[in-house]
Symmetry: C2
Subunit: 426 residues, 2 copies
């Protein structure tokens, strides 16, 4: 296997310590890249072959972008990083005694381990709702939601029954955090602008888009004044925001609100809660209510300094007492930080405790509609939207994706056209 | 339902004759568009919501293009054509007595009927091979083939067994017509160029790509000298062309050739034969060996002048005695022709019999590699490839798609990068 000239070679065993990173999201990938010059061997394990730019997944779900525009093969990103290799395998456990990650295909020994496996939806005990009200974490979920929304318009055009049509053209988004707000706004724009003229028997602009929130305002992570502005922008787009309404039942025909109101609807999107990945179970650690693993000031386990947990899987209060939010910038900062901790340890240096740098909070609602909270300055409307667009294009990994997304966004901006309106996969 | 102000209106019943078009491929769509000023109501029925530019599907299957770049919503194409409406329904039969198209959801009355339902793969009695060796007619088939090819490289990188690796890195394309040649060339470019540097344990450039053909040359629809040139260009890309070899068995582990040779391989693509759609069965008509319906000089049924069959579903010998080939330009010409026949009939005019205009024959093999037969002039290599690229961009429906495909192709040309290398849908 190792002689020269053999068509398929394995590399010689490495004497360098091996850092295994589970999960190639924002946290894992940033850790891997920041270890590029460290005297370590990096192994990135992910069950997908791509890194996904999750914040734009709602644009795939509403036909504005194609999956390939927000996803890049992990191998390709790490192609030139000679100390890194990538395994597309599904992790099923961690053997802390033998220091191995156990996958569906192999056992991967580690000296340092970085768990960056993110979060999934949380249905608060109603797990059976998942098929009826899918969330928005994976490409396949986005294309499924896209197919459901587009199929609802098709069935409404084909059918004759008025009541059925009203049900088909009612779309509900549950949860008014950033994802729910973005999703509701994007469905409204799809119905009111992109589809203009496409139908003969229905008027897609008459579709009802409901944003249902149990709390008393949208975007609770923002200051109340921006929640108010976001709500007005949503209503301007034609979204009906229903505050102080919990969902008590969800089925094929619609949903029931805590007040007892029954709403017939065809497509439901879940954006109401997340639960950390099952990493705690692999590690045998206790978790907080959201399934997250409590970690120390350097983001390693209290009882095992060689195992780090970062991103949405970690419950972190930083050295300044800030609770670190489950957002992409926080995951990136944690990824870079643990890479530094490992580099310092190998060099015999210590590292100051992790401090989260809050660059601000952005949420988009639609064309020229967004809110931005930079602490000292708060924006809404066009300026916030420009800030959001700039930040998202900037951070999309890979120049090519930036260019293609820019072309698509510019096209959609001027024409309201949505090119990826395909019903596939059924 | 019909009063003004009702949110969901049906149009008033039309006194105009209704032309129902089944299938929104090249033939059906061209017929619909050419009827835009005719005094008819046009109804296009397709089970998909998009028109697919099938000639570029192999680029989706090899990660160069995204599905949305070669597909456009049918509604969007016909959005401004006020006499046209679109139904996304699956046709299951035709009631010739009551003059209705029967779908899974409704019955659609017609005065004129245009059947343009294309062709599917034909396994010559080995229909069980379909799951092992999928063909390349639908988006879902292309993304499935893409996932299989990319997964094979991933498994080869993860595994340790040399024999298994060799099997995983052997790709077979069965049938050396234009689709098979394009597909084999594209897999070779993916393995030899796009993936350079992405793997650590395997060298993707060592992958074997086999193009298996029962006949004695590739591209039998071209003159022998161009077949010869295409074969040399394929070999230059590293494709092993195996002529005079029929496949006698196909399973999960590989395939067996007529000479008895057994080839272990992981991914098999079927490009060896097509069979017309089941339209003949709906119509109760007899067919030729390829399942095609024999039609008269004006492309209508011999016993029913109001029912037309066009494209790959029709067996046509034109007024000049040419057998019309199953290619996109022929389908388009037939679509435009039957629209003219209907317009003329409504105006009380007759129409000369259909004549196929052969603009030439193009097949691409890879970067700067193609063959072109324009009858009086035959090209191969760079010039043929430029002609092919120009023709395909030109005919891609929609300016936006042209622009995005151009950006993607230009990017891929200069960098060998393939942006859509995603394994999704599993």
């Amino acid at each position: 296997m190792t002689e020269r000239g053999n068509p398929i070679n394995s590399p010689p065993p490495s004497p360098r310590p091996r850092v295994v990173i589970v999960g190639a999201g924002f946290g894992g990938l940033n850790a891997a890249v920041q270890l590029r010059r460290a005297p370590v061997e990096v192994v990135v394990i992910d069950r997908r072959n791509y890194h996904l730019f999750q914040p734009l997944l709602y644009q795939v779900a509403t036909g504005l972008l194609s999956p390939a525009q927000i996803a890049t093969p992990i191998r390709h990103i790490l192609s030139r990083q000679k100390n890194a290799s990538v395994l597309m395998e599904r992790v099923i456990g961690i053997d802390r005694v033998r220091r191995e990650v156990v996958t569906d295909m192999s056992r991967v020994p580690f000296d340092y381990l970085i768990i960056a496996t993110g979060a999934r939806h949380h249905y608060f005990g109603h797990e059976s709702w998942e098929t009826i009200a899918p969330g928005l974490k994976k490409i396949d979920e986005a294309t499924e939601i896209r197919a459901r929304i587009l199929t609802a318009f098709e069935l409404a055009e084909a059918g004759d029954d008025d009541e059925q049509r009203r049900r088909l053209l009612t779309f509900a988004v549950i949860g008014a955090g950033p994802t729910g707000v973005e999703m509701a706004g994007a469905i409204a724009e799809l119905a009111r602008h992109a589809m203009t003229g496409d139908f003969r028997r229905i008027d897609p602009a008459r579709a009802r888009i409901l944003l249902i929130e149990a709390g008393d305002r949208v975007l609770t992570s923002f200051p109340p004044e921006l929640s108010e502005k976001a709500m007005r922008q949503l209503e301007g787009l034609g979204v009906e925001v229903m505050l102080r309404n919990a969902v008590t039942a969800c089925d094929e025909d619609g949903l029931t609100l805590s007040g007892g109101e029954r709403i017939a609807c065809s497509s439901i999107v879940w954006a109401a809660g997340v639960m950390a990945s099952p990493a705690a179970k692999w590690l045998g650690e206790t978790t907080d209510r959201a399934g997250r693993v409590p970690i120390g000031p350097d983001l390693s386990l209290m009882d095992d300094p060689a195992i780090f947990v970062i991103g949405d899987t970690a419950a972190v209060t930083d050295a300044k007492g800030q609770v670190v939010p489950g957002v992409a910038p926080a995951a990136k900062q944690m990824g870079r930080y643990v890479a530094k901790v490992i580099r310092n340890r190998l060099a015999g240096r210590s590292t100051p405790a992790f401090v989260y740098r809050d660059w601000g909070n952005l949420a988009t609602i639609g064309r020229k509609a967004a809110v931005a909270d930079f602490g000292y300055i708060r924006l809404s409307g066009l300026l916030a939207w420009l800030a959001w667009s700039f930040a998202h294009i900037w951070f999309l990994i890979g120049f090519r994706n930036r260019l293609l997304v820019l072309v698509d966004w510019a096209w959609a901006y001027f024409t309201y056209d949505r090119g990826a309106r395909l019903i596939t996969g059924r």
